[in-house]
């Protein structure tokens, strides 16, 4: 700490000297530019290397179109499923106490701590030909592994925590008071959810959905294990990028990759807005007049 002779303002007397600040900021920004902005720029530069015509043509390849279609289909299946599960789980965890609650919280986090490759492998072990249900599924002509259902299942597993993880702290901070007030005023359970709970958590839901969607579209590891890489039928965008790259069609690979990069940028923008809104909601929650709360066993 540096003491200023005239005892300047408080903030300058406790902050670092100018050169330290400059060094820290430059290092942080330099790191960011080198490892994040440069690769992002490279994607677009490489993608447009052979001009707009080649870029658009690469995106219109039948196999690529099929990959885009499959990716969208996967996201459309996964996001609503995890949205529903996330809201239900967060509701249960934040508003009620029940046996096994901490176990449920731990389980929700599981997909984050397991390697995506393992997540894919689990489904091969369960539904694959040598797996538990493999023979039965084959006998009934149902294909899960190396087909679209397997891809959807693996993606659901990987993107499982996003909505729930975002909503649990938000709903816990808001407590149960408003819902109880709605009930005493005669509102039914559904009315309470849609008119009181939902408006308070909608930005949190958007945040979770946006992250869930980004991961669902971008997931490589788990999908790679269960997809079987059948061109034009079980390749998602990330897998298509890998195939194109391995075939030395760099411009096409980067063109397809640029779609994912664009998705990332849009996600980032929406995420920033949602974060800002959530902070507003949380600060409104904290603004309630504070006195000592009754101890919780009174509630």
């Amino acid at each position: 700490m540096v003491m200023h002779k005239n005892g300047d303002s408080n903030s300058s007397s406790v902050s670092e000297p100018a050169w330290v600040r400059c060094l820290l900021i430059t290092t942080a920004l330099g790191f960011l530019a080198l490892f994040l902005l440069l690769p992002l720029a490279a994607v677009f530069v490489e993608a447009l290397d052979k001009g707009w015509q080649a870029y658009l043509a690469a995106l219109q390849e039948p196999d690529t179109l099929a990959a885009i279609w499959l990716t969208l289909l996967t996201a459309v299946c996964c996001v609503p499923a995890n949205l529903f599960f996330g809201v239900v789980a967060a509701w249960a965890i934040a508003k009620f106490s029940f046996p096994g609650k901490s176990l449920l919280i731990t389980l929700i986090d599981l997909p984050f701590s397991v390697s995506p490759v393992v997540s894919g492998l689990i489904y091969v072990l369960i539904f694959g030909l040598q797996g538990w249900f493999g023979p039965w599924l084959q006998a009934h002509g149902i294909k899960i592994i190396f087909a679209v259902p397997g891809i959807v299942l693996a993606t659901v597993f990987v993107t499982f925590p996003f909505v729930a993880r975002e909503l649990i702290p938000l709903m816990e901070s808001q407590g149960r008071d408003e819902e109880e007030a709605a009930l005493t005023l005669g509102a039914s359970g559904l009315q309470t959810f849609f008119r009181v709970t939902f408006p308070n958590i909608k930005w949190g839901i958007l945040y979770g959905v946006i992250l869930c969607n980004a991961r669902a579209m971008g997931e490589f590891g788990a999908v790679s294990v269960v997809s079987g890489h059948v061109r034009g039928s079980t390749n998602t965008i990330p897998l298509q990028v890998e195939i194109l790259y391995n075939e030395y069609s760099y411009a096409a690979a980067f063109a397809v990759a640029s779609l994912l990069a664009l998705l990332a940028l849009v996600t980032l923008a929406i995420k920033t807005v949602a974060e800002w809104k959530i902070r507003q909601v949380l600060s409104a929650a904290e603004a309630k007049p504070e006195t000592e709360r009754e101890p919780c066993y009174e509630r």
Binding site: D177, E178, E180, A181, A182, L183, T184, L185, G186, A187, S188, Q191, R195, V196, P199, N200, V281, A284, A285, A287, K288, P289, E290, T291, E292, R293, E294, P295, Y297, E298, R299
Partner: protein
């Protein structure tokens, strides 16, 4: 509407919040549940409202069994300690909420709801703030909005959890007199929870003193103040001086000698 609490017990884990509590509140009465924190008064209020279910015992409204009735069916007005206003709704929408969630056949029309809300806003003297959000109000204003919201559905029972707990001393004094007048106007049966002796003594028709999940004493303010039934009530109700001494031949002897009061019996 009269309320009867009959032998109610409630445990939270190992903690006994209420043990075998029985209480009668007559129709139109204003009753204070008074006690230190952890004495079970809030739990009792929440059980009457239906927000908590008792482990054993019964709740009767007008002599009818109501223990298993849902919160929504009990039609009680509940004012929460921290008001629990809907933060994303304006003052107007907060007060109108109870009317707008009614089933279609009993729901009043838009005009009727508007009139009702404005008459309540007039009652709480906040007509000019109808389109504010709760975050933009002071504590006292929020408290009054919470009351108006509860009153909109015309409950026969009004339950208030520490209604003045989070307000500063001056606002608290004004609001509790206002509450007393309001109670006399609307003819509801009201129960409020407080840990403030003065508040209970000034506002309530009857005081129920609670401690450790049991009722220590109930009676009019004068009764509990003048004739405390237990040492706890005596200690809790006011700043008291406790003298200790021995009684010998009609005189208490401690640091000094005091004659026994004439009507005192041991």
């Amino acid at each position: 509407m009269s309320i009867e609490v009959d032998g109610v017990s409630k445990h939270f884990g190992l903690f006994a919040a209420l043990s075998d509590v029985s209480l009668k509140v007559l129709s139109g009465e204003l009753v204070a549940l008074l006690g230190p924190s952890g004495s079970g008064k809030t739990s009792l209020l929440r059980i009457i409202a239906g927000l908590e279910t008792p482990d054993s015992g019964r709740i009767l409204f007008n002599g009818e069994e109501a223990t298993r009735r849902q919160v929504q069916e009990r039609k009680v007005g509940f004012v929460f300690q921290h008001y629990a206003l809907f933060r994303h709704m304006t003052v107007f929408d907060n007060i109108a909420f109870g009317l707008t969630v009614k089933p279609k056949k009993s729901r009043p029309g838009k005009e009727e709801i508007r009139d009702k809300v404005y008459s309540l806003l007039k009652l709480i003297q906040l007509e000019q703030l109808s389109d504010r959000y709760p975050g933009q109000l002071s504590g006292g204003q929020r408290q009054r909005v919470a009351l108006a919201r509860a009153l909109a559905v015309e409950p026969q029972v009004l339950l208030l959890d520490e209604p003045f707990g989070s307000l500063d001393a001056k606002v608290r004094l004004e609001l509790r007199r206002w509450l007393r007048r309001l109670h006399d106007e609307i003819h509801a049966t009201s129960v409020f929870v407080t840990h403030d002796q003065e508040e209970a003594l000034e506002v309530a028709d009857r005081i129920v003193v609670m401690n450790q999940g049991r009722i220590e004493q109930q009676g009019t303010p004068a009764e509990v103040y003048d004739r405390p039934a237990t040492p706890f009530v005596f200690d809790f109700l006011g700043n008291v001086n406790l003298f200790q001494g021995r009684v010998n031949e009609g005189a208490a002897q401690g640091g000094m000698v005091l004659d026994m009061p004439v009507d005192y019996q041991i």
